[in-house]
């Protein structure tokens, strides 16, 4: 684990209010958060507490209603849509609960997709995709379609896709939520090993068993950070 002290993600007084018809829903209220490079942080909380909204804001898929968000030293809350897309592509890797692989694309093409958006030359793309798939143990399935894989294998491909672009942070939204315990453990093992090689990981989970893999767990309830818990010895 190689954690340095420089801040990668810094949220200050972030709020998110949804307006539906005339109803105002406060999904996040005054969130402060500081995640350092190389950290493995879990965001935990019950269903509907706002943790997925928080992850969407961290992943620049959504914008805060108020507050500031500094990613890798750069305020990002006021960026234009193309700038946000560019940062998502280069600095953020997503791992979703439901894998979110594109069914029409092969495993290889799914992993390659963010690199094509980056305009990377094909030789380099090929090298990166191959490395990423090897890293998650899916190199032999490169030509398969997602539908031909098990849930655990699909999630490993999703991890490879998130890794391929060498992002600054991996954002994992309930990465084990759709997996059985054996595959869930395998994915957590994979994230753990990535973290050991220096990856910064932010994981949303409601499962305390998986949260213990992280170094720090931020508990969210009703849109607020109610507790931060530092694991002295993250377990597997």
């Amino acid at each position: 684990m190689t954690t340095d002290n420089s801040s990668l993600i810094k949220l200050e007084s972030v709020t998110k209010v949804f307006l539906t018809d005339e109803v105002e829903t406060h999904a996040l209220s005054g969130i402060h958060m500081d995640i350092r490079k190389g950290e493995f942080v879990s965001i935990a909380g019950p269903s509907g507490c706002g943790k997925s909204t928080l992850l969407s804001i961290l992943g620049l898929l959504d914008t805060p209603t108020d507050g500031t968000y500094v990613l890798n030293g750069r305020p990002v809350q006021g960026l234009t849509l193309p700038e946000r897309a560019r940062i998502r592509n280069r600095e953020i890797g997503f791992i979703f609960q439901s894998f979110n692989l594109i069914g029409d694309l092969t495993v290889y093409e799914n992993v390659e997709l963010p690199l094509t958006y980056r305009g990377m030359p094909s030789n380099e793309r090929k090298q990166r995709v191959t490395e990423a798939l090897e890293k998650v143990g899916m190199g032999h399935r490169a030509k398969h379609l997602p539908s031909q894989l098990s849930g655990g294998q699909q999630q490993r491909v999703a991890v490879a896709r998130a890794l391929a672009g060498s992002p600054a942070v991996l954002l994992a939204d309930e990465p084990t939520g759709n997996l059985d315990s054996k595959n869930g453990d395998a994915v957590m093992e994979l994230l753990h090993s990535l973290h050991k090689t220096g990856s910064t990981i932010v994981m949303v989970t409601h499962d305390a068993r998986f949260a213990r893999h992280s170094e720090r767990t931020i508990h969210v309830f009703d849109g607020r950070v109610v507790e931060e818990q530092v694991e002295s010895d993250p377990t597997r």
Partner: protein, 809 residues
């Protein structure tokens, strides 16, 4: 770009049903537009195959105060203008003439043109082989030279390279072939196969020749020439002549006589221009409806792909990149539709020909050429970008974060998508209402027209044309003898009820008009001089065509060249000059009859000569063939059976009278009338067809939107049913949604139609563009069809299982 192209292709390949339906819809609509454009381009837009053909104009004589805008020109008129209009770079004069081309087998009749040598310099075209004729060859006695068309040279003379200098027989006279024109050349139509010099005799150049307006004239304008300046020159010439020709001065004044120029292309297509643009607009509307349907499908597809697009967005694809992907898909669809559309167009061009478009002026040039390919590509790209941009824009704006959540994974349409699809359907219905209303009015207009009585009976009548050679039939007696022999043989045929002949047959596009006078006519001061349609007919003509005798008698065999000159007039003339009087016995002077003026012996009901919509205002005078025998004859034969069965017998009768005399243009009277009606029938049929297609597409659009909406609202219906709603309540909910779309569309369509009805009104006959019955019927038909289409999704909505619906929620 390549990666997106690959993804787009694969995406379409993975949805074969969607792809096929979209491409088939677009192929049909784009293909129809390309086919019609091939007609519009060939007839209205394509320049003639002569350099700078847009600088060519017709030069007419005009008698505006008598209602005759465009008349032919006489030789002195032509010479005056050739010398006196400074803006003319060159001018030419020509007249049609058919020739019997002698041969070992049956004589062949070809259409030729007697023309001044200046035709070729005016058209700026030279011969491909040999040469065109010179001024020296346009002199009486030196004019027996001929220039052949490439087609005649190839088909009749086997492309004989030694043809130049050889002699051929035209109308029993020898002509030396001096040139063959290029393959691409024609003038004025490809039917003309030979050009011979128009040699003016000294007498023909004198003022006495004025009024013999059987020729046409064209001119090439100098660069920058203004029509107003030309008109000034023409007026100056006319004023000078009026000053000089005192005998004609009054006539010039009362008829408003003068010269007039109109664009060559503009004049040739004037009768079909508006209708062709209307048809193009009609199929363009059908294309828009088809595109709206495809755009609606793309919107639905984008909803289903919302999650995939959200993933792409999460992986760093910006909005522009997503739009590019979706636009590429659309473009592939539209280009696919365009490519297949060319096949549809290829088939469509043939079909248009059989629908009657081939009879339109310049239709000989209709083909799928580069312009049509370019138009098709343009259509595909424009509609692809236009209608692809909407779903692409909408999809690229979707909420990626929401879509990535589990609940969003099923793909639910947002308000924007729902609104856009509804708006597209409303637009489709509006366009369909416009098309249906227009087609309905054209159909009713055509029906009204077909109910018009032309004043004669066409059924059972077959007609055939003859052109007697001047050299062989140089005396009226010879012409009369030939006609008698032919008519006698025809009369003896079994089943023949009547036979006759004329020089101008109704519904052939030909006409013969001329001035006349009478000591029994008093022309009011300032009123135009008498000027009417002149016909030469034999005694049998009236019976054969069933004209109605109103007073007096018709011609008989007793009216001969040596008896009192007589004529029959129509009621228009009688009412104009002798209202309340008995016209029988009144005298008519055709110009050179004095002192033996023609006596009016009968009055017939007026008949329509040009078309069924003609409002007969011009009087007609009939003169007996025996007293006015010419060389252009049209035989008319009435039978009580199928007239087409007489075709061979007519040929044989003529051959019996003169084995060297060809017969041509053998057609029934009904065929001639149908051909004239084609300029209305063909667009009507086509617009009716496409309004049907538009109706179907619009109804499918309504169905698509409602079916999609029902699928989206399954959970809602489950909740409603759980709360006690009946199946009827649910069905009403869906039907009301459909009815709202239909009402909006019908309202918008009717409003747009009414705003444009002034254009359509100009193309209708006997019915107003705002005819209430049609404007009610068309929307009602569409509304009923659309509500029927709404019923299917409504019924599906009533079958929602609330337990399953709520579980899926």
């Amino acid at each position: 770009m390549f990666a997106d192209l690959k993804y787009a292709l694969r995406g379409l390949w993975k949805s074969p049903g969607f792809t096929l339906i979209a491409i088939a819809t677009l192929a049909l609509c784009i293909g129809a537009n390309s086919a019609i454009f091939s007609v519009v381009h060939a007839i209205l837009l394509k320049p003639y195959p002569w350099p700078d053909s847009e600088k060519l104009v017709y030069v007419y004589n005009s008698y505006p105060l008598t209602g005759l805008q465009n008349a032919g020109v006489s030789i002195p008129d032509y010479l005056d203008r050739r010398a006196g209009v400074s803006a003319f770079a060159d001018t030419a004069m020509f007249t049609n003439r058919s020739y019997n081309l002698a041969s070992d087998s049956e004589p062949e009749r070809i259409i030729g043109l007697r023309t001044t040598p200046s035709l070729f310099t005016t058209l700026q075209t030279d011969a491909a082989r040999g040469r065109v004729f010179t001024d020296a060859e346009a002199q009486p006695g030196a004019d027996h030279v001929v220039v052949l068309s490439h087609a005649l040279w190839k088909n009749r003379f086997g492309a004989n390279s030694a043809i130049i200098g050889q002699t051929i027989r035209l109308n029993t006279e020898s002509y030396t072939v001096i040139g063959v024109m290029p393959e691409s050349f024609y003038f004025p139509t490809p039917r003309v196969q030979a050009w011979v010099p128009f040699a003016f005799t000294p007498a023909e150049k004198t003022d006495d020749e004025r009024g013999n307006e059987y020729s046409s004239s064209i001119a090439r304008l100098k660069p920058g020439a203004a029509l107003a300046a030309i008109q000034r020159d023409l007026d100056v010439i006319q004023a000078r002549n009026a000053e000089r020709l005192t005998d004609s001065r009054e006539f010039y004044k009362t008829s408003g006589f003068g010269g007039r120029v109109t664009g060559f292309l503009e004049q040739n297509v004037a009768n079909v221009r508006a209708m062709l643009w209307l048809v193009q607009a009609g199929v363009a509307a059908a294309l828009l409806i088809g595109c709206a349907n495809v755009a609606s499908l793309l919107l639905a597809r984008a909803v289903a792909r919302e999650r995939e697009l959200a993933i792409r967005a999460a992986l760093g694809a910006g909005r522009g990149r997503l739009m590019r992907l979706l636009l590429l898909e659309s473009l592939l669809l539209f280009l696919g539709g365009g490519t297949l559309g060319l096949l549809v167009a290829w088939w469509g061009v043939d079909t248009l020909g059989s629908l009657g478009f081939s009879t339109l002026p310049r239709a000989f040039g209709v083909q799928l050429d580069l312009s049509v390919f370019a138009f098709t590509l343009f259509c595909a790209l424009l509609t692809g970008l236009g209608f692809g941009a909407l779903p692409a824009w909408s999809a690229s704006r979707s909420d990626a974060a929401a879509a990535l959540k589990e609940a969003g994974a099923r793909g639910s349409a947002g308000k924007r998508t729902t609104f856009l699809r509804a708006a597209l359907v409303v637009g489709e219905i509006a366009l369909a209402v416009m098309l249906l209303s227009t087609a309905g009015l054209l159909v009713r207009s055509f029906e009204k027209l077909q109910q018009e009585n032309p004043g004669f009976t066409a059924s059972g009548v077959i007609t055939a044309r003859l052109s007697l050679p001047d050299a062989k039939y140089d005396q009226p007696a010879k012409r009369i003898a030939f006609a008698d022999a032919t008519l006698t043989r025809l009369r003896a045929l079994p089943g023949v009820k009547a036979v006759g002949l004329t020089d101008v047959l109704p519904f052939t596009g030909n006409n013969s008009q001329g001035s006349y006078s009478s000591p029994d006519i008093v022309v009011a001061p300032g009123a135009p001089s008498p000027h009417g349609q002149q016909r030469v007919v034999d005694p049998g003509y009236f019976k054969t065509l069933g004209l109605t005798l109103l007073r007096g008698r018709l011609f008989t065999e007793a009216d001969t060249a040596t008896t009192q000159k007589v004529c029959v007039i129509d009621r228009v003339l009688a009412d104009r000059y002798w209202p309340g009087q008995d016209p029988i016995g009144k005298r008519i002077d055709r110009g050179s009859d004095a002192p033996n003026l023609r006596i009016v012996i009968g009055v017939v009901a007026p008949i329509k000569f040009q078309s069924l919509e003609e409002d007969v205002k011009k009087e007609t005078l009939y003169h007996p063939f025996a007293q006015n025998a010419g060389t252009n004859l049209i035989l008319v034969v009435k039978t009580d059976g199928d007239p087409t069965l007489l075709t061979a017998a007519v040929r044989e009768a003529v051959r019996s009278a003169d084995p060297e005399q060809p017969v041509f243009d053998i057609r029934t009277m009904q065929q001639r009338m149908d051909e004239v009606a084609q300029s209305r029938r063909a667009p009507m049929l086509l617009l009716s067809l496409f309004s049907g297609v538009a109706l179907l597409l619009a109804v499918l659009g309504v169905y698509g939107v409602l079916a999609f909406s029902v699928a989206q609202r399954t959970s809602e219906f489950g909740v409603r049913l759980a709360l006690g709603a009946t199946a009827g309540d649910i069905a009403t909910l869906v039907l009301r949604q459909g009815a709202r779309l239909v009402l909006l569309g019908v309202g918008a369509g009717l409003a747009a139609y009414l705003a444009l009805s002034f254009i359509i009104g100009k193309l209708l006959y006997g019915i107003a563009a705002t005819d209430p019955a049609t404007l009610v019927l068309a929307p009602v038909v569409l509304a009923l069809a659309a509500l029927l289409a709404s019923w299917l999704p409504a019924r599906r909505a009533t079958r929602v299982n609330p337990v399953e619906a709520l579980r899926s929620e």
